[in-house]
Amino acid sequence: MTSTIVEKIFSGKCGREIRAGETVMAPLDGAMIHDITGPLAIQKFYEMGGKKVFDPKRVIMLFDHQIPADSIEAANNHVYMRKFAAEQDIHNYDINEGVCHQVTIEKGRAAPGEIVVGADSHTCMYGAAGAFATGIGSTDMGFALKFGALYFRVPETIRAEVSGKFQRRVGAKDLILAIAHDIGADGATYKAIEFTGKTVRKLDMAGRMTLCNMAIEMGGKAGIVAPDKVTWEYMKARRKMKPFALDSDPDARFAEKRSYDVSDLEPQVAVPHNVDTGVPVSKVAGTHVDQVFIGSCTNGRFEDLQEAAEVLGKKKFSPKIRTIIIPASRDEYLKTLKAGLIEKFVKAGALVEAPCCGPCMGGAFGLIAPGEVSLSTSNRNFKGRQGSTDGKVYLCSPATAAASAITGEITDPREV
């Protein structure tokens, strides 16, 4: 029989052949909780009669959505979680490390062939490390913490084969916005999306993370890239693992095969209020913006910030708007700092914050007022996502965000 990567991962964990469509109780290699969904997960764990988590070494905790605590309620949630971490001997990265998904991958908490769950929808990002990773709710997480296993309906796979060379200033974010537009907001519901093809093979880990991060925006249960040299090189410093082969068989049964050629792909912008609304930047160029956010688990890595800095060059950000830049993790922050880019951004007029989710979720800071427009490198532009339901959020790449922050209106990064 031939299998997809996802089928192989489940078959490997369960020691028998498992096909898409089957429902299995699968063992977990890792579980991640953060400050928003964690308190409820812990509550549910206790309600289920939980005393000790299944394996403290496989569970991580961190705070990223509302840090440093922006309200007494948030502070209380943090206190509650810290207590749980201490009691359970779980590693707590607390407020120090950055956005949960970036940190989980960086710390080697997701690796090829593993099954990892996180109480956050963008957990699908760990597919960039060759893991099967999916976002779950708090009650499922309570169950996962107690039993170290969870029910999964093993998903069918949509294979997205990408070819062609990106134009200058066009990259992974533009590609995934184009794919989301093609597949639609629910086109991959309950399915995995496997990104493959020469263009994906040439992408660095940062780009692969951007792709996998947004699988959920098509309803996907997971995004995944078969591990290759790039993956194993990245894993080297993080895990003691011998590289092994893990890929879909060419004649595996896929739900769908789609192909994309990026040679002519223009920078993409998703317009309000859905993620699958991507259009070429030329269609919305000139739209006034009030705030530009460069950061998040989708696009807050050093590579993203480097691209933004390149677009910025010796120019300044428009003083008429707010430009907020937030590296996704402490490691990414340090790389950016050492490269002199933080100084450059600050001097150009940006507000650079410490690693956290920032304005992405509209929970902590950086909210927009009624009538305001945000241009953001994050992953969601739902009505009210970044503040007022009478505001608007557009999504784009770091290059487009930087170009637009210079002019104060949506701008093609190839023209700056």
């Binding site: 964990k13 369960c14 429902t23 299995v24 109780m25 699968a26 063992p27 928003i36 969904t37 308190p39 409820l40 812990i42 509550q43 549910k44 206790y46 309600e47 289920m48 009669g49 959505h65 309200s71 309620e73 209380n76 949630n77 206190v79 509650y80 109480a119 956050d120 929808s121 957990t123 976002g135 779950i136 709710g137 708090s138 009650t139 499922d140 309570g142 169950f143 039993f147 170290g148 296993a149 309906r153 907001a185 629910d186 519901t189 309950y190 959920i216 309803g219 249960k221 859905n274 979720m361 509209g362 929970g363 909210l367 969601r380 739902f382 009505k383 009210g384 996502r385 007022s388 339901t389």
Partner: protein, 184 residues
């Protein structure tokens, strides 16, 4: 602190079922995301009753004031897309809503709903149900009645029925000593 207490789930009287006798439909469109159901700025709240006060805030402000115990939410395609926040179905539970009917659901919301005791029901004709319609639900016969018109509903996936029958995943899990991995 709210987070330490167990979640007080409002129980609907068993004789009335999850849908009240005088239930009305609260109709929403396609792609209703969990940010619309409960905005991010309220996620420090973990208590369903408190969350319910902010349900659909900014999207449909009258909802939180007027929703009655046993009412039914009706959505279009891809209901509950976006964030994994369980606060979304909990905000419905807090208002006494135990049934959501939609043409289709986003995966995490679907699971979260079942886990916290909200029944997500797929109805291919959900779009035909009008806002404010009088609702009656007959799960055994497999239909929903809206203003005296019957529409077929789909059965819940088999493996989730056990969780529904237990009254949610917490109750289901209490009955388990261990979970033999790799079994059904």
């Amino acid at each position: 602190m709210a987070a330490k207490k167990s979640v007080p789930v409002r129980k609907v009287a068993p004789e009335s079922g999850p849908v009240a006798k005088n239930a009305r439909a609260w109709k929403f469109g396609d792609d209703i995301d969990t940010d619309a159901i409960i905005p991010g700025r309220f996620l420090t709240i973990n208590n369903p009753d408190e969350l319910a006060k902010h349900a659909f805030e900014g999207t449909r402000d009258e909802y939180a004031k007027k929703v009655k115990r046993g009412d039914v939410i009706v959505g279009g395609r891809n209901f509950g897309c976006g964030s994994s926040r369980e606060h979304a179905p909990l905000a419905l539970v807090g208002g006494g809503v135990k049934v959501v009917v939609a043409r289709s659901f986003a995966r995490i919301f679907f699971r979260n709903s079942v886990n916290v005791g909200v029944l997500p029901i797929v109805c291919p004709d959900a779009d035909k149900i009008a806002d404010g319609a009088a609702i009656r639900l007959d799960i055994k016969q497999g239909f929903i009645e809206a203003d005296n018109k019957k529409y077929a509903i789909e059965p819940v996936p088999e493996f989730m029925q056990g969780i529904i029958d237990a009254g949610g995943l917490v109750e289901y899990a209490k009955g388990l000593k261990e979970t033999p991995a790799c079994t059904r």
